[in-house]
């Protein structure tokens, strides 16, 4: 019971790996003490769900919003692979035959979409970090300082994605004048 609770608690705990290990280890010790005293059930009841416990424990740690001078280069680092893929898809000078051209271009665009809408959200969900954020020591957390849920990780990307699609659609039907 303790192991399951602590594993779920660890899942929701934000912070650096060292911070998380320390907090998780401390909770585990606490629960073992409670078990030895025959008070495990009451202790777990007081703690609430693992997420509630993680939220309460994280209140003691200072989680500061990242500075712009870290966020900007981190975002640039995450965008570089995307830019490289899109550059290859649209501006490659030595593009082979037309068939391969279309197929490869589609594949590259698919890769870009996957990178932005699958790889980065998955990385943020599992570790709180994308490659760029990892390079600059940033971590994505919820408003209550717990780790983000899978839904939050994917929804964070939706506005950008939806905006792009909407712009594409709008550009496809741009009203114009017809010279009679």
């Amino acid at each position: 019971m303790i192991d399951t609770y602590v594993r779920d608690f660890s899942r929701w705990t934000a912070g650096s790996p060292e911070q998380r290990d320390a907090v998780v280890r401390e909770l585990q010790t606490h629960l073992q003490e409670a078990q030895e005293a025959g008070l495990l059930e009451q202790t777990l009841e007081r703690l609430g769900s693992p997420r509630e416990a993680a939220r309460a424990f994280s209140e003691g740690h200072l989680v500061r919003p990242a500075r712009l001078r870290c966020r900007v280069p981190a975002a640039v680092a995450d965008l570089l692979p995307l830019a490289a893929i899109l550059f290859a898809a649209y501006w490659h000078p030595d593009w082979p035959g037309p068939d391969l051209h279309d197929f490869t271009r589609l594949a590259l665009i698919g890769l870009a979409v996957l990178w932005w809408n699958l790889v980065l959200p998955l990385a943020e969900w599992r570790t709180g970090r994308t490659p760029g954020k990892g390079m600059f020591g940033l971590r994505v957390v919820s408003d209550d300082s717990t780790a983000i849920s899978p839904g939050q990780a994917f929804l964070r990307r939706v506005p950008t994605f939806v905006r792009r699609v909407r712009e594409r659609i709008e550009n496809s039907f741009t009203p114009g004048f017809v010279d009679p």
């Binding site: 280890r25 401390e26 010790t29 003490e33 007081r46 309460a56 424990f57 209140e59 003691g60 740690h61």
Partner: protein, 126 residues
Amino acid sequence: MSGRQKRTQHTGQEGWAAQREFSRGALELAVLALIQGRPRYGYDLLTSLGEATDGFLAVKEGTVYPVLHRLEDAGYLSASWEAEGRGVPRKYYAITPAGSRRLAVLRSEWDRLVAGLGRLLEGGGT
């Protein structure tokens, strides 16, 4: 009997709510005071808080640990993992010189508050 049950038995739900408000402000002082006596780990501190205050400060884990972490981050407490004999290693918190100074300030302010409130209540608020 849990701390909350004990408190509710003494003063009812309203009393419990009032105690919760008071204990929120007094917790940092109580934690520093207990740890100044000797280094303590979380479980020990939690039970001691309830016992030493007759249930008044019988707070939850989700209240005590954030206070400990905040005091540690602020440099008022230092922490180290230690094991007694073959027992499970525990994270012991000890007070630092900055923590002792903080405790002195809090204690002084607490004394002023108690004295001031005492005068106010004895005078009937006039």
